[in-house]
């Protein structure tokens, strides 16, 4: 079991390594992508400066705490898109019958498929996330937790995307549903939960699980409570298993398009 996990981890490591090498062929583009993404994320700080000039409390959070929410949102997004970029375009591969390349390999199909590409700008998101964390306030206690929460958030985000994209095994045009679902997660993640109420708040902790990806982690970082961290981890593991189950259930319906393709 452990050997199998090690082998899969090595595959992901090599996949990312080669993707990085490929991207680094054009260093100017590589670094400008990262730099501009940091700049792009930083621009949204202006929005919060304006909003806090109107009201000094945003849904129970102060400016630094909302900034930390942005950091978490960027960190989870960065982890999901850097390590598992293809989980966001899985339906495209399913519809066009391009999963063959992964099916014929004696490796985990889902892992190979989602980790077969990286998003360079996502590195900018991760860097931005750490900059924001250091502005919020570095501490030996919270730093490992922050990293852990970015990883679990990224895994949850990818899992949700896999679940939604896997609908393409059964329905046509479900890529649109996946796009909407993914944009729901991203858009809600950058606004504090305190501004929402009633049904919306309930939805954010159920159908659109942004609450578990960003809101609970924010509460953990502001005021550490072990049970909240455990909820985060349990939901993360549940979503991973659910994504795995749905993908493999759908894979039985998959039919190849006899498209010649190669992993480069």
């Amino acid at each position: 079991m452990l050997t199998a996990v090690k082998k899969e981890a090595k595959i992901i490591y090599l996949s990312i390594k080669y993707a990085l090498v490929r991207e680094l062929l054009n260093k100017a583009t590589f670094f400008s992508n990262i730099f501009f993404m940091v700049l792009n994320n930083s621009a949204m700080i202006v929005q919060w400066i304006i909003l806090f000039s109107i009201k000094d409390n945003m849904g129970g959070y102060n400016f630094k705490q909302v900034l930390l929410l942005w950091g978490l949102a960027a960190g989870t997004y960065g982890v999901a898109h850097f390590f598992f970029e293809r989980s966001f375009s899985l339906s495209e591969q399913i519809i066009s019958g391009r999963l063959d390349t992964y099916i014929v390999q004696p490796k985990n199909i889902l892992l190979s498929a989602i980790a077969s590409d990286i998003s360079v700008p996502a590195l900018g998101d991760i860097i931005f996330s750490f900059i924001v964390y250091f502005i919020y306030g570095f501490s030996i206690k919270t730093f490992p937790i922050y990293i852990l929460l970015c990883i679990t958030g990224g895994l949850m985000m990818s899992s949700i995307s896999i679940i939604l994209n896997s609908l393409s095994f059964w329905f046509n045009n479900s890529d649109m549903i996946a796009d909407v679902g993914n944009s729901l997660v991203v858009n809600f993640a950058t606004y504090p939960d305190g501004i929402f109420s009633g049904l919306t708040k309930w939805l954010l902790f159920t159908i659109i699980p942004v609450g578990f990806i960003n809101y609970i982690p924010l509460k953990v970082l502001i005021n550490f409570k072990l049970y909240l961290l455990m909820i985060n981890i349990v939901v993360c593991i549940t979503l991973i298993f659910l994504a795995y189950f749905i993908f493999y259930k759908g894979l039985r319906k998959y039919s190849s398009s006899n498209l010649m393709s190669a992993r480069i």
């Binding site: 100017a28 700049l39 621009a43 949204m44 929005q47 045009n173 809600f188 606004y191 305190g194």
Partner: protein, 263 residues
């Protein structure tokens, strides 16, 4: 001019095949609107309260209009298309055609987004009415002026994004330039009206693209005045000329650098 209208018409005909997809993409707009509606509801403790000269209803309508303009535009797609045309060498297919590339790109994209614009406007108005219960008071003539300024705003946006895409002649990936541009427009023009910013910044923004591509039409929709309408239209005409000039300049400089192998 007729050839550009023909290009536009064929794009409209193509897009008519995907009306359902366009209507479905409205959900993304609705999500954003819903979040911002919640945000403004939270900030305005009393709906009749004035913040920087805007009531809650005016602020919500402002965002509805700016988001319609922004979401209809499809700027990322346009920038990527032009950038890819340059990088892949596809742009050479346009060089020997009897039209101007900038004119082609503008008419093609306008045709591409026209149906989306109409659908988003109708659905946006219905959504606004459901959220707020009333429309801003506008005469038929002022509605026409708002539509005209919206078309001019979209034209300027397309030309600005085209110039960003054409940067690919010099730097391989124009995407990052578009991200920064989009964030500037989003933060400084879409979410907040110019009046929300410090006085010094307001003076700069009044001369910036923000004024003509998002603030102008939205401001006229929520608080129409003829003085404002004339100043917006004049500024937009000047901007159309400037952005077209910039696009042509970059294209002329860049096209000399084309080096295509094979075909």
């Amino acid at each position: 001019m007729r050839k550009y209208l023909f290009i536009m018409k064929s794009q409209i005909m193509t897009n008519l095949q995907y009306v359902f997809n366009i209507a479905f993409s409205f959900i993304g707009y609705l999500i954003m609107l819903f979040i911002l509606f919640n945000l403004w509801k939270y900030l305005y403790s009393d709906p009749s309260q004035l913040i920087n000269g805007y009531t809650m209803k005016q602020m919500t309508w402002y965002v509805i209009i700016t988001e319609i303009l922004w979401m209809t535009l499809g700027g990322r797609k346009l920038c990527r298309k032009i950038s890819n045309d340059v990088k892949s060498g596809n742009i050479t297919y346009n060089i020997n055609k009897p039209y101007n590339y900038i004119g082609y790109s503008l008419s093609c994209h306008l045709g591409d987004i026209l149906i989306k614009g109409v659908i988003f406007t109708i659905l946006g108005m219905v959504t606004g009415f459901v959220f707020l219960g009333s429309f801003p008071k506008l005469s038929i003539l002022s509605i026409i002026v708002v539509i005209l300024t919206s078309i001019l705003a979209t034209t300027i946006s397309i030309l600005l994004i085209t110039s960003l895409g054409l940067i690919s002649f010099f730097i391989e990936d124009a995407g990052p330039f578009y991200w920064v541009y989009s964030k500037i427009i989003l933060v400084l023009g879409t979410i907040f009206p110019i009046e929300y910013f410090p006085t010094v910044l307001q003076k700069i923004l009044n001369y910036s693209p923000v004024y003509v591509v998002s603030y102008g039409p939205a401001k006229l929709f929520v608080d129409f005045s003829w003085d404002k309408a004339i100043s917006v239209i004049i500024a937009q005409i000047i901007y159309v000329a400037i952005t077209y000039g910039i696009c042509s300049f970059i294209y002329k400089k860049g096209v000399k650098r084309i080096n295509v192998n094979g075909g």
